[in-house]
């Protein structure tokens, strides 16, 4: 667990570093999430003050974009692509399988709409590492590897 002090110092450092950029809000949110795994709700007031925005504006941006999360993810982030190219190769069945297998496991399973690996579908990523032509067996194997590594 990240302590409160750590969270505060990360937010302060990111704000000092980026507040002067034109259109700084997204880069700030990215930096915070990259370091802490999420954008903690207590960051909103500090960001708003640093950028001279209202809290509502900052909150509005965080909630608008699918990428930003306000709670820490559980374990590894597993993204299964469910867009058309992957659908044509069975991504819906893979998604159902993945949902079943991931239940109770220490992973955060998410849908993603295109990883750009459309010629070797279905695809997925684990903490940004890409995997293509993911069969159900390959998914189980990768999940088992994650469990081992934990």
């Amino acid at each position: 667990m990240t302590s409160n002090n750590q969270v505060q110092s990360t937010i302060r450092r990111v704000l000092d570093d980026k507040r002067g950029m034109p259109g700084a809000l997204l880069p700030i949110l990215h930096d915070i999430q990259d370091e802490l795994g999420h954008v903690p709700p207590e960051a909103v007031a500090d960001i708003a003050e640093a950028l001279n925005l209202s809290r509502a504006e900052v909150h509005g941006v965080i909630s608008y974009y699918h990428h930003f999360r306000t709670e820490a993810p559980k374990g590894a982030v597993v993204q299964v692509c469910r867009a058309e190219a992957c659908q044509s190769c069975g991504s819906e069945a893979l998604w159902e399988h993945a949902s079943k297998q991931a239940k109770g496991q220490n992973v955060t399973l998410e849908s993603v709409y295109c990883l750009g690996l459309c010629a070797t579908a279905p695809s997925m990523s684990i903490n940004d590492k890409p995997y293509a032509r993911v069969s159900h067996a390959r998914f189980d194997h990768l999940l088992a590897q994650l469990k081992e590594a934990a």
């Binding site: 880069p27 295109c114 010629a119 890409p130």
Partner: protein
């Protein structure tokens, strides 16, 4: 003994198939066997069914092996693949592979050949010849070259690039911008990703030429967060180009001593499809919600931070260096009608030989799907093909022999878009795909205009009533769906709501049986 050059791609699709693991085993085996090698992490040739594709430089040229798995490496060394030895994975000389040989690679000429972040490699393969040429011309002459080449926006809207540039060049402002739309969110498309990962300097050079031609001194590349490898490659390339004086303002003398500075920066998106719409993208770069702006004013006059802004997609900018280097006429000589030049086409979905095929306009879907693609991966018949991303129509077989060009395709209701082709076999249910199109629009709508925000949700419900409801009410619900689509097409602020009906209606028109309708109900699009 000189080192043997061995190439293992670093493109993320190759990585997804195990390229890093293969590279590691090759390095280890070479060390153990005392064979001196230089391992180059090149970009992909775009033949993804052969990835990881390992190449070896021989006297005769580069020889290819693929798809190579880590467990194949020892066997490859045993037969002396590092000297071009024969092996069951051997594909012969890379340049002689039919799939590559038949292409017309202008933009993708370096793809898979060079080390993506090596400036020396880039320059050794005609890189920066376009910018050097541009710096000998007046800005108006550069714009004229782009106009004369006939280059149109490759992101989907197909607006002539030169006209945008001309508008920005003529605008008076303290600060102008060049922005690259690299929010390649369409399923079935990956040419932008390949360019950023595999030949980033080409994009940087194209944007620099745009900056010099229009007087812009700052630029942004807006890349989606789903592309971490592209972002990393671009950042590395930008740092190196800036260090070498191809970007920035080295010694206060501007780009290559031209007197004009150009500062380039990558901005990361955050998982919003609609930010691929240019005005939503501008809002996002400005740090706001990616909500679409009403036009006018056009971004060329009032764009980023309210200033004149050139906005083009990755492939549009990437096409510019060769136009400048070889001349507008060279580029315009390819293609047909008002669709000049080439298009890097992406063959994806349920396909045997998926990959990147760059061809001049005029190629047909059948050639792409059958001659290049080799049919479906499942071996079943092709049922439907969606071209141009999630907002593109499903093209029925009757149009598979139509030469690809913007106007000709629009006339039959098809979209060239970003050149992505997604193939479905006969197990596909087009009513499900139509439902998905509406559902995707509901998830991704920015919410500004009602037809898109509400219409998409009503669309999902209506399709559900058609496919699951009482058969008696079906014709009435179909009429309702058509009405709804009409409202969305004509009443939406941008292409998100305005084009979502294209896949929906094309599915309904060409595959009525999937909606529980009899074939005679078929209506023209």
């Amino acid at each position: 003994m000189s080192k043997i050059k061995i190439y293992v791609p670093r493109d993320s699709e190759a990585l997804a198939l195990g390229a890093d693991e293969v590279a590691a085993v090759i390095a280890l085996q070479a060390r153990q066997r005392g064979i001196p090698i230089e391992l180059v992490r090149n970009s992909s040739r775009g033949m993804f069914w052969l990835e990881p594709l390992v190449e070896v430089a021989t006297k005769k040229g580069r020889v290819a092996y693929g798809p190579v798995q880590p467990e194949d490496v020892a066997g490859l060394f045993d037969v002396g693949f590092h000297n071009g030895g024969a092996h069951k994975l051997g594909l012969g000389l890379t340049d002689e592979i039919d799939y590559l040989k038949k292409q017309e690679r202008l933009t993708f000429a370096r793809m898979g050949i060079t080390d993506p972040v090596s400036l020396d490699d880039y320059q050794a393969h005609e890189g920066y010849a376009g910018l050097c040429k541009a710096l000998t011309l007046k800005p108006t002459e550069v714009v004229q070259q782009v106009l004369d080449s006939g280059l149109r926006g490759r992101g989907g809207a197909a607006f002539p690039a030169g006209i945008k540039w001309k508008t920005v060049a003529a605008a008076q402002a303290e600060q102008k911008y060049v922005v690259c739309n690299a929010d390649e969110g369409d399923s079935g498309t990956f040419s932008d990703r390949m360019t950023m990962e595999g030949d980033p300097y080409m994009l940087i050079e194209g944007m620099t030429i745009a900056a010099m031609a229009t007087g812009a001194t700052r630029g942004y590349i807006y890349v989606r967060s789903e592309y971490p490898h592209a972002i990393a490659a671009l950042n590395e390339a930008i740092a190196r180009a800036t260090e070498a004086g191809f970007l920035g303002n080295k010694d206060g003398k501007g780009v290559l001593g031209s007197g004009q500075a150009f500062h380039l920066e990558v901005r990361k998106g955050a998982g919003s499809y609609v930010c691929g719409e240019e005005t939503a993208m501008l809002e996002s770069i400005e740090g706001k919600r990616g909500v679409v702006r009403a036009k006018p004013p056009i971004p060329a006059l009032k764009g980023l931070f309210g200033q004149p802004t050139v906005i083009n997609n990755v492939i549009t900018f990437a096409s510019v260096p060769i136009i400048l280097a070889r001349g507008a006429a060279f580029y315009a000589n390819y293609g047909l009608g008002r669709s000049r030049g080439t298009l890097p086409i992406q063959i994806a979905g349920n396909v045997k030989h998926g990959g990147l095929v760059e061809k001049a306009f005029g190629v047909t879907l059948r050639e792409l799907m059958v001659d290049y693609g080799g049919g479906t991966a499942s071996g079943r018949p092709i049922k439907a093909v969606q071209v141009g991303g999630p907002l593109g129509a499903y093209v029925p077989e009757a149009h598979w022999d139509l030469p690809m060009d913007y106007e000709g395709w629009t006339a039959v209701g098809a979209t060239v878009g970003h050149g992505g082709i997604v193939i479905h076999d006969d197990t596909a249910d087009l009513s499900r795909l139509a439902r998905y199109a509406m559902e995707f629009c509901a998830i991704e709508s920015c919410g500004k205009c009602t037809p898109c925000r509400i219409g998409s949700t009503r669309g999902v419900e209506t399709i559900d009533r058609i496919t699951q409801g009482d058969a008696q009410n079906r014709p009435q619900q179909v009429k309702l769906l058509r009405d709804l689509c009409d409202t969305m097409v004509n009443g939406s602020l941008c292409a998100m709501g305005g084009m979502t009906p294209f896949p929906v209606l094309s599915a309904l028109n060409h595959y009525p049986e999937d909606f529980g309708l009899s074939k005679p109900d078929r209506k023209a699009a």
